[in-house]
Amino acid sequence: MMWRILHILAIGAVIASAAYVYSVKYQAIYASEQVVKTRHAIAKERDAVNVLRAEYAHLIRPDRLQALADKLLDTQPLALNQIVKAGDLPLPAAKVDSIGRKLEALGLGQSSTPSAGVTGATPALR
């Protein structure tokens, strides 16, 4: 009796493991199919990217841009005196509080900027 139960259990275990192995096998096949599909999709995308890169390069080729700019923009070609090094730029002038100055001229300045203690042009508050 014991043996029989054991046999049944063993047979059951064999069938179960076989079923499990089959399911794993099919999952693996499915996964590998997916991998191949994805690879193809990647290759396709890569080709598409290449085509787009070529197209982009074709669209931004300098002679085309120049022709378009000549036709559509009313800007002039760059002149050399328009090019300045960053270091050569003048420092920004101190900002002038024109409203405050006007108020001051009207005799209202004291009340609007009491803490500054300076009359005349007051640096604008940031």
Partner: protein, 604 residues
């Protein structure tokens, strides 16, 4: 061997109802025959074994013969895959400019092929295919399909629409294979450097051919296909924007001066990198010309393949030779009062001064007499040796497969030395002159020009000195003074401290120097105190335009174009115009007492 089932047959026959009287003899004979066939008689088995052995031997001999035949046949039996791999265009690396802009790339397309052996009705196939692809020649296609090959092309690189239509024909034995098609998004810009490929993606000209010669990319090595992902893009030294600017300005000049041809190049004198190179007329590498045809002959790369008498730009080489030899210095005086006679030949000056000139004046007035006298001081031997050292007498090979042998006179007399000194009688490729002038101004280092990127350290390591630092500085000084007081003033662009030299060579027409047909060149360096770029512009047979006083000399065409070019390209290369001139442009000369200011030199 198969004796077990057989014996039963006679017994079955025997068990059948008694046969009619006429048949026993037949039945008996059959029985006897079958019985003999399956009986095991020891006396006959030896013969049977021998028979069996004989049959087996014959079979093996047959197999062996077939093997030998297969081994000897030159053409391996092609499977479709092998045939496709061999025929389909392989992948090539992308070509980029120095800033990474695409110059050439591969695009995946489909091509239609056929397997003639599997096509059932060839006439029908031809009819259907030509209906869909009208540009395929029906007769030629029928011939191809009738061949015994396992694989033939029907049409390369079809459009998606054509592909759909062919697919819907549903012809057996007709299929598609993905191929790489080379595209050049910038069209003719830089075409002479980039080159082009044939239908099988094999390089035919320019850097495309160079890549194949390096066997980086040979797409048809047997059993070896290139994985497109493994190909690294190749970076060229060209700057796409500068090349476009060069082409644009050259083209405008070509039309304005109605020249036959024009060409130009920009080189980085410290690395030898060619930043831009153009030769007009040119072509679109997407639709390459058939270079064997006569009509395509004028589309050659004039910088590398053309050989020309460079005219007065050669005076830079002659004067540096005289300075380097020590026979003259910048303060020497050269007699140019009278024309120079040699036998029955007389050398004149184009802008005759009829006085004694200083060396800088010889340069700025472009005096033929003065230059010839200086070359004579060095002598024929010294002249030849110097030109050899400067690479003017040998074919210059760069990465580009196109190159040209200079035309050197077979007999080299004093007269040859005199004329070659001012640029007549020796034909060189413009890129050779470019290389020589670059070496004269960069401190005296001879660097072979390259079309691939190179850094300064590598360039210096592969270079050798051809003139001294002081001679080089003198040349820069002379070119600068020529820009302020001489013929190069059209290119003297404010803010870039330009130096330059013009050259106008009379063309030889029917063996005589023509008076009105000229070949003009212009070389400019920026900045003259420490040059970075050397510009070269040349025109073949430019005409004088209104307002130029009838002059068709180099200053008026090549010089002007070079000026426009400097104005345009210098900012592109990230060089802003300087607000003031360098304070000590020529320190070595200053120590010798020539004054800082090349700008004053011509006024003496």
């Amino acid at each position: 061997m198969s004796e077990s089932p057989e014996p039963r047959q006679p017994s079955v026959n025997a068990a059948s109802p008694p046969p009619p009287p006429s048949r026993p003899s037949l039945l008996l004979r059959l029985k006897a025959f079958l019985g003999a066939l399956v009986s095991t008689r020891l006396d006959k088995s030896g013969g049977r074994i021998r028979q069996l052995a004989l049959i087996l031997c014959l079979a093996y001999a047959g197999i062996g013969a077939k093997l030998i035949k297969l081994g000897l046949s030159s053409e391996p039996p092609q499977t479709l895959k092998v045939a496709v791999d061999q025929a389909a265009s392989g992948a090539r690396p992308d070509l980029l400019d120095r800033n990474g802009q695409v110059l050439a790339t591969d695009v995946r397309t489909l091509s239609v092929f056929a397997e003639p052996r599997r096509i059932i009705d060839k006439d029908e196939a031809v009819e259907l295919i030509t209906a869909v692809l009208p540009d395929v020649d029906a007769k030629e296609l029928r011939e191809r399909l009738s061949s015994k090959k396992g694989f033939v092309w029907v049409k390369r690189q079809v459009t998606p629409k054509e592909q759909q239509e062919i697919f819907h024909l549903g012809l057996p034995g007709v299929g598609f294979v993905p191929e790489n098609k080379r595209v050049y998004p910038n069209g003719p810009i830089g075409a002479h450097v980039i080159g082009f490929v044939d239908k099988d993606n094999i390089g035919i000209a320019g850097m495309e051919k160079y890549l194949d010669q390096q066997s980086l990319t040979d797409p048809h090595v047997a059993g070896f296909t290139v994985d497109p992902d493994s190909l690294k893009p190749v970076r060229l030294s060209l700057d796409l924007k500068a090349t476009h600017a060069l082409r644009d300005e050259l083209k405008a000049g070509l039309e304005k001066y109605q020249a036959k041809a024009g060409a130009g190049a920009i080189i980085d004198v410290n690395t030898g990198e060619i930043i831009a190179l153009e030769s007009l007329p040119d072509y679109d590498p997407n639709d390459p010309p058939d270079m064997t045809k006569e009509s395509s002959k004028d589309k050659i790369n004039r910088i590398n393949v053309g050989v020309y008498e460079m005219g007065s730009t050669f005076k830079a080489i002659s004067i540096s030779m005289a300075l380097e030899s020590g026979k003259v210095n910048l303060g020497s005086r050269i007699d140019a009062r009278d024309s120079l006679r040699y036998g029955r030949f007389t050398i004149h000056d184009f802008h005759a001064t009829h006085r004694v000139l200083t060396v800088p004046e010889v340069f700025t007035h472009s005096s033929n007499i003065g230059t010839a006298r200086m070359a004579l001081m060095v002598g024929v031997q010294g002249h030849q040796a110097f030109l050899k050292k400067m690479g003017q007498l040998d074919r210059l090979r760069t990465e580009l497969p196109e190159s040209a042998e200079p035309l050197v006179p077979k007999r080299w007399t004093e007269l040859n030395t005199m004329t070659i000194a001012f640029g007549q009688g020796l034909n060189v490729a413009p890129i050779q002159a470019l290389m020589a002038v670059a070496a004269l101004v960069n401190g005296g280092h001879m660097i072979v020009p390259t079309f691939l990127t190179r850094n300064e350290a590598d360039a210096m390591a592969s270079s050798h000195r051809v003139v001294s630092e002081q001679t080089s500085e003198s040349m820069r000084y002379l070119m600068r003074s020529n820009a302020t007081h001489g013929s190069a003033s059209f290119a003297n662009i404010e803010g870039y401290y330009v130096g330059g030299k013009t050259g106008t060579a009379d063309k030889i027409i029917h063996g005589h120097y023509s008076q009105d047909k000229v070949f003009t060149t212009f070389m400019a360096i920026t900045p003259a105190d420490k040059p970075k770029y050397l510009y070269m512009v040349l025109y073949d047979q430019p005409q004088a335009v209104a307002g130029d006083g009838g002059y068709h000399t180099a200053a008026h065409n090549a010089g002007r174009v070079a000026g426009l070019l400097i104005r345009r390209v210098q900012p592109l290369e990230g060089v802003p115009p300087a607000s003031q001139f360098p304070t000590q442009p020529f320190p070595l000369l200053a120590k010798l007492g020539y004054g800082y200011d090349a700008d004053k030199v011509g006024k003496e």
